[in-house]
Amino acid sequence: MSADVKIVKVSGTGIAVRGNDIDTDRIIPARYLKEITFARMGEYPFYDERFDSEGKPKTHPFNNPKYRGASILFVNKNFGCGSSREHAPQALFRFGIHAIVGESFAAIFAGNCVMMGIPTVTVTSAEIEELMKLVELDPQNRFAMDLDAKTLSYGERQVRFDIPDTYRNALITGFWDSTSMLLSNLDKVKKIAAGLPYMTGFRG
């Protein structure tokens, strides 16, 4: 078993998308799931919020040139709820987002993120409001996320964040790409499977 890339630090400028309960249909409309690979997903995040029916850009942080190159996304509560589509974090990642800071994340979305090596970390409502204001006030502000120390630093300041220990371990040890880790246990897997009565049709 070999560990993949270790993800301990993510740094860069930020971008804020405000609102609770932003679902994965809004992050990526279902029609783009008809593409057979993830290759072009980076063109589509928040598509229907960014473009009207004629394809003309609307006002949206992801369209605003002042946030270009941002790698840390700031969001509110229950971000990524709804559909399990991995296309949502794929779209964000391929657009350039490498870490997400929010008040809370939906379960499947957060799981997909960690499988892709994207940290999803949580801070309090007051802290996210301050961070969002900071990003909107000066998009050039730089943030440094340290998963080892569980801190997000900006300027002279620092905020502590939460992340489930297992997610943090997976990212900092490089086992977020879990297949090799799971495969190395294949003998144990077969043993557990053999002990489950439905695997043999409950035959006596």
Partner: protein
């Protein structure tokens, strides 16, 4: 006799499927059944090829076509070349890796969460994963079932296991009995309204109490289906005589003495009477009325007799304002009488035989209101055949509903069934998210099949109890 040990079904199934504790601290969990469809799997098979991996337990994965399937013309190649490409990819991948595939030419084809139970693939005490968030549906059987992303589909294909974190368990006890005209859909919408769309984060929901015990399997599936809309990855009902009766005789269910052994095992994995829960919620069944959504998430719901809430009465006033902006509705107005343009009966939430019967009972002898487009899309080819055998198709078509072939259809509009412009749809599906039904400006009102049928014939939201 199962020893009382204070454990929930969730605890027991988790334990029996635990392979190991991983270096990350996650649990490696064996997945008893893996269901796949055409949408979230193609990149997973590509990842296998990239890593030069095989499918570890090909006999534990079953595939079908549901999301992109046209429900009017099923001739191949599909007119939509992307749908055709995805279908061909699934055909190629399942054939190359030796996976059972139920395509359009199979009488077993249908929505993945409808055919699993129908074939008896879904069984109590199993773990079940599928690249679709509504996998929680299978929890109705006492199955530990949850939705996963594409990278996780890759892991299940390669290893038949996943790296998972254990959830807490919240017991949701529905006391008393439901009034006439109130259905499983109204129950789950009321639960989500009360606990919130993010309230289930970190929890598995165990649904119990007299209301749930009295429900048939199809009703239990409707409840478990929408667990994820309440933020809960998993929702389940403890298996009982109703469960075993449903499963008996189905294709993949053991027969004879093996069935008796299965029932004994299934009974043993139910939650102990002294099980410890991380949280308990009690609700009164008799207080639930026909419930409809008014906003852009399933928690934004009201009883049919209520008025639309003012944002400041809502837990998320900003979210409520955003919802009113999209819906074009005003707080303080009654939900009763809101006009609709489209009626959709279908989806993994409400496309089973009892759903179609409830809708047909309302539609019988009536006509779809002029100008309303009304679709009935059975959940599987088998359900379609059963419904036709008892004449439900004729009731619907005589009333002016379109009777379609099985698929996900207008729940998420990945096939040609879509809303146009600002159309408002009374829908039996599970999500009223912005743009969900295929038009960025389209609007969705979630409700039970009987309520959708009543809305279709009246051209507006009505109280089904007054139109039975």
């Amino acid at each position: 006799m199962a020893k009382s040990s204070g454990r929930t079904l969730y605890d027991k199934v988790w334990e029996s499927h635990t392979v190991d504790v991983l270096p990350t601290g996650q649990t490696q969990l064996f997945i008893g059944l893996h269901l796949i469809h055409e949408i979230t799997t193609a990149p997973a098979f590509d990842m296998l090829r990239e890593k030069n991996l095989q499918v570890g337990f090909p006999e534990r994965t079953f595939a079908t076509l549901d999301h992109v399937v046209p429900t009017d013309m099923r001739a191949r190649p599909f007119l939509d070349s992307q749908a055709e490409d995805l279908t061909q990819a699934l055909e190629k991948n399942t054939s190359q890796f030796g996976i059972q595939f139920y395509g359009l030419d199979s009488d077993r084809q249908g929505i993945v969460h409808v055919i699993g139970p129908q074939l008896g693939l879904t069984q109590p005490g199993m773990t079940l994963a599928c690249g679709d968030s509504h996998t929680s549906t299978h929890g109705a059987f006492g199955t530990l079932a949850f939705g996963i992303g594409t990278s996780q589909v890759r892991d299940v294909l390669a290893t038949q296991t996943l790296a998972m974190d254990k959830l807490k368990v919240r017991r949701i006890n529905i006391r008393g009995a439901l009034p006439e005209g109130v259905y499983a859909k109204d129950v789950i919408l009321s639960i989500i309204r009360r606990l919130g769309v993010g309230g289930g984060k970190g929890f598995a929901y165990e649904y119990c109490g007299p209301v749930v015990e009295k429900m048939n399997m199809e009703e239990r599936m409707t409840i478990c289906n929408m667990s994820i809309e309440g933020g809960a990855l998993v929702g389940y009902v403890n298996p009982d005589a109703t469960t075993f009766e449903f499963l008996k005789g189905r294709e993949f269910v053991p027969k004879g003495k093996d069935f008796d052994r299965a029932v004994a095992y299934w009974s043993s994995i139910a939650s102990d009477s002294d099980a410890r829960y991380d949280d308990v919620v009690d609700m009164e069944g008799s207080e639930i009325e026909p419930t409809v959504t008014w906003g852009i998430n399933p928690g934004q719901a009201v009883g049919i007799s209520e008025k639309l809430p003012y944002p400041e009465q809502c837990s998320d006033p900003e979210g409520a304002k955003r919802a009113y902006e999209h819906m074009g509705w005003k707080a303080g107005t009654p939900v009763l009488g809101m006009p609709i343009n489209v009626a959709f009966i279908g989806s993994c939430t409400n496309s089973r035989l009892s759903d179609l019967r409830a809708a047909a009972k309302i539609a019988k002898g009536r006509r779809v209101h002029p100008g309303i487009r009304a679709l009935v899309v059975p959940g599987s080819a088998a359900i379609k055949a059963l419904a036709e055998k008892e004449g439900l198709d004729r009731i619907f078509t005589e009333a002016g509903f379109q009777w379609r072939e099985a698929g996900c259809s207008m729940c998420l509009a990945m096939n040609p069934d879509k809303l146009a412009g600002r159309e408002i749809c009374a829908s039996t599906s599970n999500r009223n998210f912005i743009g969900r039904q295929g038009s960025p400006g389209g609007r969705t009102i979630l409700m039970s099949p009987a309520m959708v049928a009543a809305a279709a014939v009246n051209g507006k939201i009505v109280d089904v109890r007054e139109h039975a």
